[in-house]
Symmetry: C2
Subunit: 487 residues, 2 copies
C-alpha cells in the first residue's frame, strides 16, 4: 500500500508518495508565499494551495505511473490556525487569514481577563496565533463577510473538501482554535460565546487519523489518481512532526531548535495539574494529547548575532569560536528573549539582553552566552514539562541541531542523553504513520513508527556530568536576572 | 616672573616653564611605568621620580638659559594617594604603593561598617584608592617596614623634600588619605585609630598653594636653578586640573570623559547636607572644597566596544554611524558599568549590560546605546551634584570630548550649554595659577585664571531642547533597569 502524503507548510507544499514501509517512491514540492501586509496582516489566497496541490498530485501520479506504483490513499497534514471563510458554495469570501496574522491582537487583549477560563477549557490562552480571534476579527471589521460565511475552514479542511466534497476538521486543528473543549472534543458553548462566534459557522469535528472521505470523480481527474481512494486527515503539522520524530508515548520529548524552538511531549491523558505554563493540544494519536512549550527565538537569534557580529565567518569557524570559549561564557549572561517570551509566563514584553559584561569580555563571550541562553531557556521549558511527565528521552532537531557544539552544550545543560535522527521528513513521515493506522495497515501509530523508523540513522549525545553544575548555576543566574527585571 | 610647573602623573612626569601670563617658555617630559604585579599590587620606585625630576629640571634650565629666561619658582602637582614609607634619613624603605594598588581591599572591606563615620569625618568612604589602607597594609603584612617607617609621604611630598629639605603634605593630599578631618584640616584621632596608623608617622599638614620651602644648595646644583627660589605645593593633580579648566567658583562643573569619567565642582564650604553619594576633598583654592563624582568607564568602554565590534573602522566612521542612529538607540539600553559603579552608590558588583535587544537591533544601536549610557550616567552624577550646588556651567574635556557627536549628545542629555576649552595643559596651568597666587602675583586663584585663560580658544555646544524629553525617558529606563537588578 502506497500513501501520498501532502504536507501543507507556510512557505511551500510538499508531496511524497511513500510505501507502507516508509520508502519515498516519488516526491514534488511547490513554493508559495503569504502576503505580509503593513497592518500586521498576513494573508494568502486559497487558490495558491489548490493549484499547488493539483500540480503536486499530477507530478507524483505521473512519476508513480512510470514506476508502476499505485497511489492507494492520500494523507493530509497542514499548518494550523489559518482561517478561510467560505460561502454555501464553498467559495472563499476572503483570502486566508494566516496563523502569523496579528490583527486580532486587540480582540485577544480584551479577553485576557478570561484567560484562566479559556485555558481551563481549551488548553491554550487567548493569542493571535489561534483561529478564534481571526474569526472574531471578521465579525468585527468585515461584518459583510462574516454574515455571508457559511463555514470557517482551515487549510487542510479546505483541501480535503476539494478532494472529497466532505467538510470536516479534526481535533488537532480544533485544539488550535480556542473554541474546542479538549476534554469533550466538542465546540464549547462558553468559548463560542466569549469570542462571539456561532457554532454553525464551524466545521464538524472528527478524530485525526480518520478517513475524511474518498476521492471524488472530478478530483480524480484533476489529480490523476484513482477515484474512491481514501483521504485521511492526519492532523496538524506539529502533531505529525512530533510523531515522525518518535514522540509516540509518554517519556519522549522532542526539542526542535529551529527559527523558534518547540518542545513537544506526548501524554496519555490531560494532566490533572495542568497549568497555563504550557499549551495542551489534541494529538494525532488516538486518545493522546501533546503538551507544547516554546522558545520564540533560537536559530533566528543565532543568525541575528552572526549577521551583525560575525558577518564574514562560516558556521564552522563560528562553532570553533564557541567551542574555544569556556562554559559560562566568562560570566556573560544572555536573556534570549529577542521576540519576547512565550511559555511559561507569556511575557511578550521581555527582550534580549547581554549582561555581566566587563572590559575583559570579548565578542565570543557574547556569542557563546547567546547559545547557552537558548539552552537554558529550553531547559526551563523541559523543567515545566517535568511537572507533567517523566521526561526520559529527548529527541533533538531543527536548524541549530546541525551543530554538534550546540547539541553537546544542550546535552550537558540537560544532563540527559540526546537523540538525533538523521531523517528530515519528520512531518510527512508522521502523517504517513497516522494514515497507515487509519487504513488498518498497523494497529497503532506506535507500531507504524517502530516499523518505519527501524532503518533510521540515529546519533546520540552523552552528557558530561562534570559540566552540569556549572551550567546549572549559570541558568539560575539568567533566571534571577529575568525575575528581577520582569516579576 | 616665570614658574616651573612639575606635573607628576601616573605614566609620565611633565615640566613646563610658564611666564606669569601663562605662556609656555620651555617644556620637557619623562615617561615611566609602575609595575603591575600579580596580587593586585601596583608599585613604583621613588628613584623613578627623582631621576625624572632632575632630568626635566636640567633640560628646562638649559632651555631657559638659552632664552635668557629666569626660573623664579617651582610649583608641584602630583598624583594623589600613592604612599612611600621613608626612614629617619628619608630613605625609602619600600617602593611606593601606588594609588591603583588594591592589596588593601580586605582591610577596606572590614571597615565597611564604619563607612558612615569615616565619610562624616573625611568626606570619602573606605576604598583601596586612598592612602590609609595602604599604610595599614604595611602594618599588617610588612610590620618590619611599618616599624621602621619614620613618615609615610606622598609623591609630591617626597619630591618637595628632595628640593627643599622640608617635609610636609598639603590638605588636598590629606583629603585623599581617609585620615584627615575635612572640617579641621587636621589628622583625625578617631580615623587614625580605625586604620591603626600612628599620627607621628604622617607628615605635617600645610595649606595647598603655600610655599613648602626654598630650593636647597644641593638641589640647586642638581637642577641648574637658583638656590633659594620658592617651591610651592599646588595640590593634587585633579584639584589643579579642575582649576585649569575653570572650576574656580560655585556654579562651574568640569566633566572629564577620559578612560574613566570625573565630575568635579567647587563649593565655598562643605555642604550641610553632604551624603556619601559624592567625595568631598579639599580644593587647591583657599577655603574651597571640591565635590567629586565618577563614572568608572568612559573612553575605556567606548574603546572596548570599537575594538571588539568595529575593529577596522576609524573614529570618524564610527562617529558617522553613531550620528545616523536615532536617539534612544532603537530602544536598546546600555548600563555602562563595565568596571562596576562608583558614585553615587559605590556598587562594585555592577556590570555592563545591553538590554532591550530584539531581532531588529543592529550593532550600531548597541554602539550608540553605550555612548548614551555614558551620557546618562554622567547626568546621574550631575543630578547628585545639583543636590549640593546650582550647576550653571559645564566644562567638558577628556578623550571622548574630542568627538563632536558625543559632546552634542551629552549637551542634549544635560539640556545645558557645554563649554570646551581647546587647551590641553589644564593640570599644569592650574598648578601655575595656584603658584602665582602663592607668590603674590595675583590676589586670588580666580584672578589668575581670568588673566591666564583670556586668550583661550573656547567652543560651545548648545542643547537641542526637543531632544531632552526623549533622552530623559531613556535615562529613566536605564536607571529603572539598574534599580531592578541591584537595589
Amino acid at each position: 500500500m502506497n500513501v501520498l502524503v501532502l504536507d501543507v507548510g507556510t512557505s511551500s507544499m510538499r508531496g511524497i508518495l511513500f510505501s507502507a514501509e516508509g520508502a519515498a517512491l516519488a516526491s514534488a514540492q511547490c513554493p508559495y508565499r503569504a502576503d505580509y501586509m503593513e497592518d500586521d496582516g498576513v494573508e494568502q489566497s486559497p487558490s495558491d494551495w489548490e493549484e499547488a496541490m493539483y500540480g503536486i498530485f499530477r507530478s507524483i501520479s505521473a512519476e508513480a505511473m512510470a514506476k508502476h506504483a499505485d497511489i492507494d490513499a492520500v494523507s493530509i497534514t497542514a499548518q494550523r490556525s489559518s482561517v478561510i471563510p467560505v460561502d454555501r458554495d464553498m467559495i472563499p469570501l476572503h483570502r486566508a487569514i494566516m496563523w502569523q496574522d496579528k490583527r486580532s491582537a486587540k480582540i485577544c487583549r480584551q479577553l485576557e481577563c478570561e484567560n484562566e477560563e479559556i485555558f481551563r477549557r481549551c488548553g491554550s490562552k487567548a493569542n493571535t496565533v489561534f483561529s478564534a480571534g481571526k474569526m472574531a476579527w471578521f465579525r468585527k471589521y468585515r461584518p459583510d463577510i462574516y454574515k455571508n460565511t457559511y463555514k470557517f475552514t482551515g487549510v487542510a479542511d479546505y483541501l480535503v473538501y476539494l478532494l472529497t466534497g466532505n467538510l470536516c476538521t479534526d481535533y488537532t486543528y480544533g485544539s488550535r482554535t480556542l473554541l474546542m473543549n479538549i476534554y469533550t472534543h466538542k465546540w464549547d458553548a462558553d468559548l463560542l460565546k466569549l469570542f462571539e462566534v456561532e457554532e454553525e459557522k464551524l466545521c464538524p469535528l472528527v478524530p485525526p487519523g480518520s478517513i475524511s472521505g474518498y476521492l471524488g470523480k472530478d478530483a480524480a481527474e484533476r489529480t490523476g489518481c484513482r477515484e474512491g481512494i481514501p483521504v485521511i486527515t492526519a492532523g496538524g503539522d506539529q502533531q505529525c512532526g512530533t510523531i515522525g520524530q518518535g514522540v509516540v508515548q509518554e517519556g519522549f520529548l522532542s526539542v526542535t531548535a529551529g527559527t523558534g524552538g518547540f518542545l513537544i511531549t506526548a501524554v496519555e491523558e490531560i494532566p490533572k495539574n495542568l497549568q497555563p505554563n504550557v499549551i495542551c493540544n489534541v494529538s494525532s494519536i488516538k486518545g493522546q494529547y501533546i503538551l507544547e512549550s516554546s522558545v520564540l527565538t533560537c536559530c533566528s537569534a543565532f543568525d541575528w548575532f552572526c549577521r551583525n557580529f560575525y558577518e564574514e565567518c562560516s558556521y564552522e569557524e563560528i562553532n570553533r569560536i564557541v567551542e574555544k570559549t569556556p562554559i559560562g561564557s566568562n560570566e556573560v549572561v544572555c536573556l534570549p528573549y529577542f521576540q519576547g517570551r512565550s511559555t511559561p509566563d507569556w511575557n511578550y514584553g521581555a527582550t534580549g539582553m547581554f549582561s555581566n559584561i566587563t572590559l575583559h569580555t570579548g565578542k565570543a563571550d557574547l556569542l557563546r552566552a547567546l547559545l547557552e541562553g537558548i539552552c537554558y531557556e529550553i531547559q526551563n521549558g523541559i523543567d515545566v514539562m517535568k511537572e507533567y511527565v517523566d521526561v526520559k528521552h529527548i529527541l533533538i532537531n531543527g536548524g541549530l541541531a546541525n551543530s554538534d557544539v550546540f547539541n553537546q552544550m544542550q546535552c550537558d545543560v540537560c544532563d540527559i542523553e540526546l537523540i538525533r535522527r538523521g531523517e528530515t521528513d519528520a512531518t510527512a513521515r508522521g502523517a504517513l504513520m497516522v494514515a497507515l493506522q487509519a487504513c488498518g495497515v498497523f494497529t497503532t501509530v506506535q507500531e507504524a513508527f517502530q516499523c518505519i523508523s527501524r532503518q533510521d540513522k540515529v546519533s546520540f549525545y552523552h552528557p558530561d556530568r562534570d559540566k552540569k553544575e556549572k551550567y546549572q548555576k549559570c541558568r539560575e543566574k539568567m533566571n534571577e536576572i529575568y525575575h528581577n527585571l520582569y516579576m
